[in-house]
């Protein structure tokens, strides 16, 4: 088996700076129409997040509504197969079926404190849309979700869930009709409704402070991994943490408390699609170069002329031509290692987990599982795979391979 991978040098310092940059990446490249909203967030997000009453409400909802802490499960048969020790962080057991709800809970509490009473969001696979519609129902706020027309077709169950939860699902019909275009439409909606609306971005993308804010709300994942590992193996640090990266919110959460622990190897699985040289891929770090999309400077799949390329992945949640600026920095600095996992490899890994452990993973998460075969981790080493979501939404796709 040939490993498709890339790896650069090594360095430290991974927090966002006061201008919203991670190394060379980040910032807030937004039209003036969005400036007041984004600035309001920049000025207030840290202060609000650190308030005692915010933390009490946030922690209470994570525990009693989301069902946290999620288990850190020792996957015995998977470990036997790969001759190492594999732990699965079961974000798939979160209410709504994926890690996305950690962020939407945090952001809706923030939106309420900013006096916003309408919510707009974008969604790819529909997991973030469902998580947003869910917290809007919970808090009684109006919810509009933009979703690419193609994604609406391939993720029908999630569209139905959003509708039942009271959200209005609006199709994004421009461009590739997927996540990128849904994000454009959500940004336009926010430009048109700047005063009463909060935009809940679902990933660690967008203008500063979104990447940092979303990473903080998702950081509960690595916080729990550390305390759970301490309990299970007597130390907080695993040897490897693996997560899939579309925009990169589950990876940001799974990596967060390990960023400054150089002994922990951080592994990101991108969507290789039909293969990185096939012209049908979403493997951003392999195919992209620095550029600006959706309000931040990051790595971006684009033509020589700087037009954004339409990506391809079997998984709607990874079908995005960029990555968050934190991940661009982790790649650029060599702190994280990136793999490109093809559509077929991810399906294979999804079936493998199902057969060995009785867990049907989201196809997004299956990309992370697929890295196990390239890892060659030792028998005494500990590998944590972030199982970011469950595969119910993907059954129609899986069935085609049965």
């Amino acid at each position: 088996m040939t490993s498709i991978e890339q790896y650069k040098g090594q360095e430290t310092a991974f927090g966002v700076n006061d201008k919203g940059y991670y190394g060379k990446f980040g910032g807030a490249y937004i039209p003036e129409m969005l400036y007041p909203n984004v600035e309001e967030l920049q000025q207030n997000y840290l202060q609000i997040i650190h308030q005692t009453d915010f933390q009490e409400e946030f922690q209470d909802l994570l525990k009693n509504y989301v069902g946290r802490p999620t288990p850190l499960y020792y996957a015995t048969r998977l470990s036997e197969k790969y001759k190492t020790n594999v732990y699965l962080k079961r974000e798939d057991l979160c209410h709504t079926g994926a890690h996305k709800v950690n962020n939407t809970i945090g952001q809706i509490l923030l939106a309420k404190r900013l006096g916003k009473h309408k919510i707009v969001a974008e969604t790819g696979a529909g997991q973030h849309g469902v998580a947003t519609a869910t917290v809007c129902a919970l808090m009684g706020l109006e919810c509009i979700v933009y979703m690419g027309e193609i994604d609406i077709q391939r993720q029908a169950p999630n569209v139905a869930r959003m509708k039942m939860l009271g959200a209005e699902v609006r199709p994004a019909t421009s461009g590739s009709k997927t996540l990128k275009d849904a994000t454009n439409e959500a940004l336009r909606h926010w430009i048109n409704n700047p005063v009463d609306t909060h935009y809940i971005i679902g990933s660690v993308v967008g203008p500063h402070p979104y990447p940092d804010m979303v990473a903080r709300f998702q950081s509960v994942i690595s916080e729990e991994i550390r305390s759970q590992l301490l309990e299970k193996i007597g130390k907080e640090n695993p040897d490897y943490v693996i997560a899939c990266v579309g925009g990169g919110s589950n990876a940001a959460g799974a990596f967060y408390h390990f960023l400054d622990e150089p002994e922990v190897k951080l592994i990101a699985a991108e969507a290789g699609g039909h293969g990185i040289h096939s012209g049908l891929s979403a493997a951003t770090t392999f195919l992209g170069k620095p550029g600006v999309l959706h309000g931040s400077k990051s790595i971006l799949m684009q033509t020589e002329d700087g037009q954004v390329v339409e990506p391809h992945s079997i998984s709607a949640g990874l079908d995005y031509p960029g990555i968050g600026p934190l991940h661009a920095h982790l790649w650029d600095s060599g702190r994280a290692k990136f793999y490109a996992i093809t559509d077929d490899e991810s399906i294979e890994a999804g079936f493998e987990l199902t057969k060995l452990e009785g867990i049907i993973p989201a196809i997004e998460s299956a990309h992370a599982l697929s890295v196990l075969k390239y890892l060659n981790a030792g028998v005494n080493e500990t590998v944590v795979v972030n199982l970011s979501g469950r595969g119910d939404k993907d059954l129609a796709t899986y069935m085609k391979y049965l």
Binding site: E32, Y35, P36, N192, P194, D305, G306, Q307, V308
Partner: protein, 258 residues
């Protein structure tokens, strides 16, 4: 002297700026539209550099961007088309577009090309103000390019003053919180905002954009600023034009005279 600066030295009322997308409706329409604009008496021509993800634009301009890209428009092609521009066109020319294609072209290279063909100013809506001030301003100035900033009804007084301080040419006053092509007409709230900005005694003149489409809205906007910018409506005119020159001249006439 920069043609924008020169224009506002002699004309501070009813200045008409027309936006169109380069390479639309067909690839080689850029120069004919530019020449028609001059002939029709437009004061400023604003050429859109098409982009795959124009987030500040509504459907009309989005579609014109997509058509232009499908037609094969790029910055390289645009500069080729504009190469002999100054032999034919004397009115100020502004390039408007999103920052990513400019970054990929290379900032310095881009500015140098702008100067070579005779571009006077730039509107880059997603280039942050402080980023411009720290990194781009010296390069823009080296090549004689004015950077035009947008303000909206939500822009604070302090920020408007900062924009006025660090830019020259004019300030693009967005009439309401909106993407392009969404609004129509001028409301009392807009008038209050225009009056508020006028009372600030800024050094730069303002042009009002978004929602301007005909003689009535142009005349009204001109009461509150040095003039106005028409974008989406002009794209619609171009979309249905049977003869570019005739239709452009006729439309501009209808805006100016009624």
């Amino acid at each position: 002297m920069n043609r924008i600066t020169k224009l506002f030295q002699t004309k501070l009322h009813s200045v008409l700026n027309l936006y169109f997308t380069a390479g639309y409706p067909t690839l080689n329409d850029t120069m004919p539209i530019l020449e028609a604009l001059q002939e029709a008496g437009a004061d400023i021509a604003e050429i859109g550099m098409p982009y795959s993800d124009p987030v500040a634009d509504g459907e009309t301009i989005q579609q014109s961007n997509q058509v232009a890209l499908d037609n094969g428009m790029s910055l390289k092609v645009l500069f080729e088309q504009l190469a002999g521009m100054r032999q034919k066109v004397q009115i100020p020319v502004i390039l408007m577009g999103y920052i990513n294609p400019v970054i990929q072209f290379g900032i310095e290279n881009f500015c140098q090309k702008c100067q070579e063909v005779g571009v006077d100013g730039l509107i880059l809506p997603d280039l942050p103000m402080e980023e411009y001030y720290e990194e781009y301003k010296p390069v823009f100035e080296k090549y004689g390019l004015l950077n035009i900033f947008l303000i909206t009804p939500q822009t604070t007084e302090a920020r408007i003053r900062r924009i006025d301080e660090i830019s020259d040419g004019f300030i693009y006053m967005v009439s309401s919180a909106s993407v392009t092509g969404k609004t129509s007409g001028i409301s009392p709230e807009m008038e209050a905002y225009f009056n508020r900005v006028n009372a600030m005694n800024l050094k730069n003149p303002r042009l009002i954009g978004f929602g301007i489409k005909d003689h009535e809205t142009f005349t009204k906007a001109s009461e509150y600023a040095a003039g106005a910018i028409i974008g989406s409506q002009f794209i619609r005119v171009l979309q249905s034009a049977s003869d570019i020159k005739t239709d452009v001249v006729e439309y501009i006439k209808s805006v100016k005279i009624g």
